[in-house]
Symmetry: C4
Subunit: 302 residues, 4 copies
């Protein structure tokens, strides 16, 4: 599995509920550990915009200082009413150069200033090339936006029981060739070591993820969880880790999604309520995907 | 299959004839359901152009209002013959700033205006970066442009019958390693529930999709459709769903295509007319792909 | 195979020696058949540059006409010495607007002209966004630049004979997980129909394509070509079609390459000369890949 | 394997320790061998920046010469104090045109100059489009940043011995579905020819590469290396070549990594020290990946 077998306290989980892997790697020098592109692609839009705005302001401040130190007499059309006016005018001249807007009401008179502004406009274009790449990288990044049922149920299944959870596609585009892989991690009551096991699924691949998909692990003789009760799940501090793989056929992209359930998410003697489907007049089938969380309690079998 | 088993009325189909999946998902908050990039990539070019034009106009209107509220006296070279002239001049100053054309016959006099225009030109560049990404995303999107025969035939095949349809590549680039997968959905006459079945194909993979490919499901003992007549297909409200997968070797992209036939598309006692091939003087083979729809009626076998 | 079985004249081949598939599809309306992006990506650089230059000139001519028809009195700073001067000045004003260079020595005086130039600069940005996408698409396109031996030999192999050709990687980047697939097409002497067969290879996959790879089809009892002589290859008008697949690990791209040999490329009683390898002082291994064409004649076995 | 079987001197290795394949291909004409895009993507950032700066300067020098030869009288607003001043002003006018900043304090007076500057600004945009593509291509290139243990150990394993090395992910993003493939190359002491062999691994695929992965080749009866001592490894000049494949699930990219060990990297009678794992208060697991190099000596078994 690539996870360690040390026994953690109950609050620790390998996969966070948002799908992230709960591990931080250290011990490398900062440069090895740093991946700016990865950060720019995965950070929030707000933060990205803040970073762009700051870089823009700082770049303009630096160039304004350079222009200022070269002397205001090297500029035509400059507002030189005060030192501050001069500096601010140069700041905005820098902004007009960096973005290549170049109104030209302020313009370089000396070759030194021209050299700096020629460099600045090149840097502006390169910086903008970077921004284009980052924005495209963010938007075109393969994403599986799956909705997982809040709970994982122990439900009646083929005369016995099955461990069941449901997923649905949150987006309007289609996911095809979906595959599920379910792994459990639990503390062996005897050795106190962390054990890992892959759970066998009734079906682990479907052609379309059109409505919803109930993924079932039959609790039969082959299952390591056969006969377990809520108490067993709690005491072994079980973590049920899901790895989904599917193809977004709009972009032919393979997408991945992770999720994890802990013992408190397990409901015994319950079964999922089938999703209601409404047929519109134009023949379209409408489903309400947030119904995948709904379940009803069943009678405990004697 | 990922589709429900509820029995729909005859007009409903899972796959629309244009290949789209006939399902709408609701019940999420709007933000979850929204995927702007997906929309921008898949909408028509006309709509996209309209959206770009509107955004451009609205952005310029907003900035023109900001400039106007800062006061026309903060601008050099402005046409201030009337209130409207002032506003329109500021609107076009905004356009020149947003696109970074920056003629400079109108230019900022005060630092406040300079600040707004520096922000506007940055936003202009970012917006343009987005447009670049969207246009590239649209053009580079993997597409399989397949032509499906209008009808699906029950044709003589190896002494018995086979269910057959034909596909051809509409484009001049090549598709290799093509794979077909055919699923049927029908209403069980007894249970009135929707049943799903995967049809076995004579060959489900070919190396080149050079001319055309006739995909054959033998109606032998293994087939769930053995002995069915037009009446059976109609009464069970059959839907024959096709999922094609191929590789466009110009871009090494895996492409997908979906299609679906209903009972009215099924023709009994018919067989496809082979595609005519013309050999040009330079050795090139010319085929007319729209001939894949052509079939002739055969004698009903006694 | 996706090719027809009609018998062609000897000059026809399915795969051209440059790897292109020798088929032209017609019969669709032009729009279906057209794939501008595909053309822009695969055409020569010279043609692409010509197309860009023409589009640029035509766009400027159109806008110059619009500006001219709006009246030269709507422009400031215009050279109006003659009608031609006016028009040319407007042509270059258009160019300065389209590229967003916007010197501003010529500038719009009326709102109508401002409106047109605001539209033009937007179109300029969009056109440039397209060019960015096309250039990136061209450069990032997966390419396998393989060198195929000029001839395919019938060489001694494990006490009998084998059909052999060699390939090498032309570029300095590495190709890994290379796979070969060899298909023959020949005219059956009896039925006069075109037959297709997949040839079994000794090894059809290698981890690295570091030096060269000799792909061998053993001419044993399983081979449809066992005992064939040059005369058989000629009379059946054989075409040996190669499809190579590999991964360029710099870009993790799967790349494809096609090649085809005809009977005149087949050499009997010959074997390939092993590639010379030179070890540089720094331990680097140097090979001269164009030696893959070299073979020596062997004694015909009695 | 795609490598030759000639026997090299001990200093030669197929895979360099940085993962590069140690082969140079020659014998083609320069153009075939050249792959500018590949170079631009894989060269260092410093070199790339230098190339961009040089191209920018040279392009401006060329256009300055063209403008100068057309005559300084064709420009408005030019500093013509001296020949040098004129030339430098034209150099910076060129820079303002190429980057489309276009201040406009220097501007074309004649149509010839306008024509050249219209061409220059088009070239500027195209060059910038190229730069955008190159920067995006560099950042989005699939990369596996794996840390390999410095040594490969012969450690106790299931009552016997195993050849073991460890890998860890250097980056904060996750690698899933990791696969290892280990090949050895050694000089046969009898034939003096280079032999190649694929080593069987205990497990060759794991779901997550979360902490670290110890890849084990059991030195059992099936192993070609059973019973080998340090002396054997040295005398046969062994090279142990690793090919790792994994999926970066942030970008759904398949990434590859290569590594190679020589006899001096093999340590007998040693075993790896398990990685320490620290549980933070928020439940996060912290590992120090550079501990993967650590091993302890074991008692030689009698």
């Amino acid at each position: 599995m690539g996870f360690g077998r040390k026994n953690y306290n109950a609050s620790t989980r390998f996969i966070r509920s948002d799908g992230g892997v709960n591990i931080k790697r250290t011990g490398l020098n900062r440069l090895d550990n740093l991946d700016i592109y990865h950060w720019l692609i995965t950070t929030s839009l707000t933060r990205l915009f803040f970073v762009i705005l700051c870089s823009y302001t700082i770049a303009n401040l630096i160039f304004a200082f350079i222009y200022y130190s070269l002397g205001v007499e090297n500029f035509g059309g400059l507002n030189t009413d005060s030192e501050l006016d001069s500096f601010l005018s140069l700041f905005f001249f820098s902004a007009q150069t960096l973005t290549t807007v170049g109104y030209g009401h302020v313009y370089p008179l000396s070759h030194y200033v021209s050299l700096v502004s020629a460099t600045e406009s090149l840097l502006g274009l390169l910086g903008f090339a970077l921004a284009t790449g980052v924005l495209y990288g963010r938007f075109s990044r393969p994403k599986a936006d799956l909705l997982y049922s809040k709970n994982i149920l122990i439900a009646p299944y083929e005369g016995a029981f099955g461990l069941m959870f449901r997923i649905a596609n949150k987006k309007q585009y289609e996911l095809i060739e979906s595959e599920a892989s379910v792994t459990i991690s639990y503390t062996d009551p005897v050795t106190k070591k962390r054990e890992f096991d892959q759970l066998k699924l009734e079906i682990n691949r479907i052609n379309y993820l059109a409505l919803s998909w109930t993924i079932v692990h039959p609790l039969n003789d082959e299952s390591p969880l056969k006969g377990w009760t809520q108490k067993d799940f709690q005491e072994t501090d079980i973590e049920i880790m899901i790895l989904m793989k599917a193809i977004n056929d709009t972009f032919s992209q393979t997408v991945y999604s992770r999720h994890s359930y802990k013992s408190e998410d397990i409901i015994e003697h319950a079964k999922f309520v089938p999703l209601r489907q409404e047929i519109k007049e134009d023949g379209r089938i409408v489903v309400s995907v947030n119904e995948i969380h709904q379940f009803t309690k069943t009678e405990p079998q004697a």
